[in-house]
């Protein structure tokens, strides 16, 4: 098992290399540059050219790429042009709201998605099934920004239950952090729950048709035990895969959600950095997100072993 994990971690390197290179070209080949953003709309062409020269952005692309490789290999993600601090520090300053948001949304997604999927499978082809799947369809179809704005209108403006936007750091107030994340977490979690619900339903249906379920029932087990102990555990493997995928989706969805709810997270950092052409930050976050995505997948693969002892990695 340890050998397997180490091999997977080594395999991470080429992935990161590809992400880094693609990321480098994507942002550098996008027209626009940090100098003109920094100097503002009324600056003259000459001023912008001077600043670009000062920043070293007028050097050949290949030289810039090689320099960047050199730094990245030493674990240095560079220095943010606009934030005036190391990229890694900028990311870590923003990580708390994003991690909290992701965890809370995942909780929402799982708490809605798995029970809805189970109920839909057990009551197959009844109105319950149709209702649950209808809600799930609604969840995937609705754009997160639209959903977010409506939740703000209902729960913040009319009912006054949650703050409109912004984030209270954990070390200031645990309850405050929680309250500021309820609406965004629901916005994100709801759409992810749809995917989980559908996957849970179909894998439950498959499992419920198996012989060992009939055996369990014929032994006189109560239906609750049959469904939650025997069926659900075996139906969890495909569901878990989807949960892992959803986690990646949540990171991407966080970009929109963090912008709507004005959360100072990594997603928001990416958006503003792309707008400002803050090259080092965009590249740094890309590497960071790619590695966390790969790590989550690795974690899911490891979890399989605990769910299904028949799975072995050599």
């Amino acid at each position: 098992m340890t050998g397997y994990i180490v091999r997977r971690l080594i395999a991470l390197l080429p992935v990161l290399m590809i992400v880094a290179t693609v990321g480098f070209f994507l942002i550098y080949l996008t027209p626009g540059d940090p100098a003109s953003v920094m100097l503002g709309p009324d600056a003259t062409t000459e001023d912008v050219a001077n600043l670009k020269h000062h920043m070293g952005l007028d050097r050949p692309l290949l030289i810039q790429l090689l320099r960047w490789y050199g730094r990245t290999l030493q674990g240095d993600l560079g220095y943010s042009i606009f934030l005036q601090r190391p990229v890694l520090q900028a990311i870590f300053e923003r990580i708390e709201p994003t991690v909290m948001l992701t965890l809370m949304s995942l909780t929402v997604a799982v708490l809605i998605g798995i029970p809805a999927g189970v109920v839909a499978a057990v009551r197959r082809n009844t109105w319950v099934d149709q209702a649950a799947m209808g809600v799930a369809l609604f969840g995937v179809s609705v754009p997160t920004f639209w959903m977010g704005l409506n939740l703000i209108l209902l729960f913040s403006v009319y009912l006054g239950l949650f703050p409109v936007a912004g984030y209270v750091p954990l070390d200031q107030s645990l309850a405050g952090a929680f309250r500021s994340l309820v609406l965004p977490a629901f916005t994100l979690g709801f759409s992810a729950s749809a995917l989980i619900a559908r996957m849970t339903r179909s894998s439950m249906l498959e499992v419920l048709g198996q012989d060992y379920i009939r055996t369990a029932r014929s032994k006189g087990n109560r239906e609750r035990i049959v469904i939650y102990h025997h069926a659900l555990r075996n139906a969890m493997i495909p569901t878990l895969t989807v949960v892992g995928l959803a986690l990646g989706g949540l990171l991407a969805g966080a970009i929109v959600t963090e912008t709507v709810f004005a959360l100072p997270g990594v997603g928001r950092l990416v958006i503003s950095s792309v707008m400002r052409r803050d090259y080092p930050v965009v590249q740094g976050v890309l590497i960071f997100v790619a590695s966390s995505y790969v790590m989550v997948n690795l974690l899911i693969d490891v979890l399989y072993v605990y769910l299904d002892p028949r799975i072995k990695y050599a």
Binding site: G32, G166, P264
Partner: protein, 518 residues
Amino acid sequence: MRFLPGRAIALAVILALVLLPMIPSAAQQPRRGGALRIAHIGEPPTLDQHWTTAAITGHIMYHVNEGLFAVNKKFEPKPVLVDKWTLAPDRLTYTFTLRRGVKFHNGKEMTSEDVKASLERWGRIATRGRSLFANVVSVTNPDPLTVVMKLREPYALLALDLGWVGQSAVIFPKEVIDEAGTGMVKRFISTGPYRFVEHLPDRHIRLDRFEGYAARTEEPDGATGRKHAYFDSIYIIPVPDAAVRIAGVKRGEYHFAETIPPDEYDRLRTDPDLVPYITETASWLTAVFNNRSPLMGNRKIRQAFQAVLDQEAVMRAAYGNPRFWRIDPGLMPKEHYLWTDAGKEFVNQKNTERARQLLAEAGYKGEPIRWVTTMEYVAYGTAAQVVKPMLERAGFVVDLQVVDWATLVARRARPELWDVFSTAFSFVADPVLLLSLQPTWPGWYDNRDMNAMMTLMRRHSDPKVRHELWKRMQKLWYEDAGTIKFGDYFVLHLFRKELKGYVNIPTHVWWNSWLETR
């Protein structure tokens, strides 16, 4: 009638009862304390006011930084850090006597050394500063309270340039400037009524009252006169989504929201807790021509573009409610002393026939006009989309390129890449500062007569002479179709009723404003 003292007294009492409520009550008295929370559209690109022309940096740092001058309600420069100033009879030597006892936020007293260092840095890196300093022979400081500036040629707008809000010539301590070297300043210290406390990107910028502030004694007027910091703190919070900014003000989480879509005006007006605020200074929506491109460098093609426009349709599509826009020929807004309608016959012509004829005379053969616009500022993109079919009816072929703002700014710097681009010009206090008349600014409008008149405009301070001159300049600009002015527009901001004393001339002024307890 006999005089009845009893009746007189009774009358006096009644009068007093009627008139008393008309005298401002205690509730109108400014109240010290509280934290002002402002929802702003985003993050400033930098907080160094010498560096950037971005309005958002000025909005924030204008409360922290001060310059030698600032402008009043009528956009006249008035002294801020300067006590007295004189201009020698040769009109070349300015002597500024600084105010005594002005403290920086670090407790140090401001001297002429700081002023000299700040002005020189501003003259090195700011766009406006560079053009002013091209005409500066020397800046010297014979004693701690005196700064002498010698010019090469007389220049009428020196104080205005030094006091203008955009990329302002604010004063930093000399050590802050030395520390910055060729880069940006690392500490944000000046002499303003609020001091900079922290900047947590995407979370907030916090300013606190500066207890050591040395206020002037004149009545407040625009950005000049007495400044009181009533709030303990000001938080500037980036909230990118306009709908969320509105919701936050409604809910009471923010007191003030920057830039609200004008469409919301009628709905917000009915809410008794809210004040929708329409700015008084007009900006203008524009399409800038590339005078260096083969197509738009052709005067007749530019004139054809101008002839075809239905400007009301453009402004209605871009800004909706007519409260927020007007069609006006003046390149200087109606409120300005130099306003003129010279060249008004070229405005809003809706003359497709004339355009066709001009295009034929120009020898236009259907080469695509590359128009770079953006939806990041919705009005720019909307205007371009409305104008496109108007142009096509006259025979233009339009290649509309919708890109993000950073791309647009990068592309406009390269004359080979574009023919027209969308932008807006914010209010400036003098024609000398109009970007569309600068041969160095993208668009490169360069007319010998215009440049000669501009030189005169820079030298002369007599309002009558300037007005005559300006009429001719504006007329020439229209004849030339140098750039298109679609119309004036006004910006909508929103605040809660308990915010009192807010003014917006020429930008947000939150000093002298306070929060009334409810």
